[in-house]
């Protein structure tokens, strides 16, 4: 079936560097994308979302880029901090009957080295 997946399972960066986490999706009907952060022992925490009629959206230290042509989503974290260490998931929804049902990728473990 169609799914959302991530290119890299792990990413290690130095504190203060910028991080880029990538995600590929296969459902061309997807119209809404969300990035979640999940720390150990906690549930996923909403970071930022983007609709399919946009190609970029910025939040506080985070930017999401959407390339519908190649079905690719990325999350950029500026000036990465140790507190950013977590697993990051992209999720998508959209298409007929999807409602608010989210399809998640497998996640990228981000480790920030001091």
């Amino acid at each position: 079936g169609e799914s959302v997946g991530l290119h890299l399972p792990t990413l290690s960066v130095q504190e203060g560097d910028n991080s880029i986490i990538n995600c590929a999706y296969s459902n061309s009907a997807s119209d809404y994308f969300i990035w979640y952060k999940q720390e150990s022992g906690k549930g996923p925490q909403f970071i930022i979302d983007i609709r399919s009629n946009m190609d970029k959206r910025q939040g506080q230290r985070v930017t999401v880029l959407l390339n519908k042509t190649v079905k690719h989503l990325s999350l950029q974290i500026a000036a990465t901090q140790p507190g950013d260490s977590a697993v990051y998931f992209c999720a998508e929804t959209g298409g007929e009957g999807s409602g608010s049902r989210l399809t998640f990728g497998e996640g990228t473990q981000l480790t920030v080295n001091p």
């Binding site: 609709r51 929804t93 989210l102 998640f104 990728g105």
Partner: protein, 115 residues
Amino acid sequence: DAGVTQSPTHLIKTRGQQVTLRCSPKSGHDTVSWYQQALGQGPQFIFQYYEEEERQRGNFPDRFSGHQFPNYSSELNVNALLLGDSALYLCASSLGQGNHNSPLHFGNGTRLTVT
């Protein structure tokens, strides 16, 4: 403003037993979804409740059932537990069905271990 709360936080059951997990949605939310997250994987959609009815269902067997109460809280029931049911069960709430203006808010989950 209380977020999504789930109980219990941890649970250990034996194969063949039944389990009930509980969830209270974020204040103001009326839709509850349940997800199963196996270790090292992303959450997988089980089902969604809105107006006390199951509205959508993922690829899970009938052993998984649920309920939503008039106060919007919800329960997830799993019968005839299998070892493979061991996972983190996440509850998420939102306002309205399929409302892109209301992203899902997740609780911290119930860690179920089946021995």
